[in-house]
Subunit: 252 residues, 2 copies
């Protein structure tokens, strides 16, 4: 087991941060690690916005549903799919960009996400903690206003970075055979589903959550409380409108 794999295996999401700054040198090293991630055709069709200013983080915190770590942690990184820069370059070179469509958004989002994960790995290897904010896609329209993002730019994820002020237990994962398929996709029997989720369902934390949420089981916490159909449909339409408004839905 080498140090890098150890870093990956020791990952824990951190939600409580010290107010300590991250030095410019360290932040720079981490971001350098990010921009070395694979990128489609070496186009690097993403941008990263670094938010350190306390007032801006307070505002950003509200947009991320009040998740307090956005105020507390010293650095917030917003990763955007970005064809704006590439399109401008093409236009300045008498080349006609054809990147105002859905595939181009997906390409740029993939670039942004691979860079984000490299940044997280680099940060954790230096003793920093990280947390991804899923609220980024829900609030993409408001983040576009906040950062004044031009056409061709869509935020896809946000990473909170800072020095951990907690040392939580590592959370569970499904057993490997639950997520890895060999040679073909083997669809799941009823028994296999029961087996894959049995460890998660048996955890004391799960029992506590079921009690707190007054539901029958863990699955209902997801469907009825955390990620409801109503919210998902609402945010699906927000995100599809964002893609249209930012110029990524000209598919004919």
């Amino acid at each position: 087991m080498n140090n890098t794999i150890e870093t990956l295996l020791n990952h824990k999401t951190i939600r409580n941060y010290k107010k300590d700054d991250i030095s410019d040198e360290l932040l720079n090293n981490i971001l350098e690690g990010g921009i070395r991630a694979s990128t489609t055709g070496n186009m690097q069709v993403y941008s990263v916005i670094v938010t350190k200013d306390q007032d801006k983080r307070n505002e950003l915190c509200k947009l991320h549903f009040g998740q307090k770590m956005v105020e507390d942690a010293p650095v917030i990184l917003t990763f955007c799919a970005d064809f704006n820069r590439f399109n401008k370059w093409c236009e300045q070179r008498d080349a006609e960009p054809g990147y105002d469509n859905f595939l181009s958004f997906v390409t740029a989002a993939i670039d942004a996400l691979l860079a984000a994960q490299n940044v997280c790995v680099a940060a954790e290897s230096e003793g920093l903690g990280i947390c991804y904010l899923g609220t980024t896609t829900y609030q993409a329209d408001k983040l576009i206003d906040f950062f004044n993002l031009p056409k061709g730019v869509v935020p896809v994820t946000t990473v909170v970075v800072g020095y951990p002020d907690e040392d939580p237990e590592q959370v569970d994962r499904l057993p490997m055979e639950g997520v890895i398929h060999h040679e073909e996709y083997k669809d799941y029997s009823k028994e296999e589903i029961d087996n894959i989720y049995s460890f998660k369902e048996s955890l004391p934390l799960t029992k506590q959550l079921i009690e707190e949420n007054q539901v029958e089981n863990l699955a209902q916490i997801f469907t009825d409380k955390r990620y409801t159909k109503k919210d998902n449909i609402h945010f699906s339409n927000v995100l599809l409108k964002v893609l249209k408004d930012q110029g990524f839905m000209n598919n004919d």
Copy 2:
């Protein structure tokens, strides 16, 4: 500079592989690193399909536009956004899943991509080489047939893994200030675009490519040869149809 950041900074895409197998133990370690990546709400809404069989790799090679490394490298990993397993679990628990919409696809795709990048970092830390296949999104419909993927499952990227049979020069990246923004998104002036792309445009490889492709400049290689508007529109519609067929576009 620690070992992990060094691994990230030394990344090179590998396109020529030895036929040597990867041991089960090593492959397992790498995949363990992958499933430790952050995942929305700890749902792990992705699957990884491992292809090692030579006949299957030969078939898969054709689907990936004949990129020979798919035949040569011992392991091909197809990362899929996957709500099928989660939906089945919900249904078995009297919980009604609301994950047949666009936001849920994006959520699952993010999960899949973060896991993929962890796998790549783990692989490279062990001296293996990797290459992402962008053809995955273009050929999602055909890959769904090939792997017989049920509703709720969409391939989003593929990673070729094996022992390198080449040691290429590391490719360029845009300067940091080209992709990182501080506090706000600073849109690019004409001069800034020229500066950001000047190093890339000055490279001997760029000059060679321009000559080979008989175009005026590097930007035109992208717009006229590699990633054309016509192809992008075609594959956008393929991918949108795939999302619909796999049950991710019920947004009302």
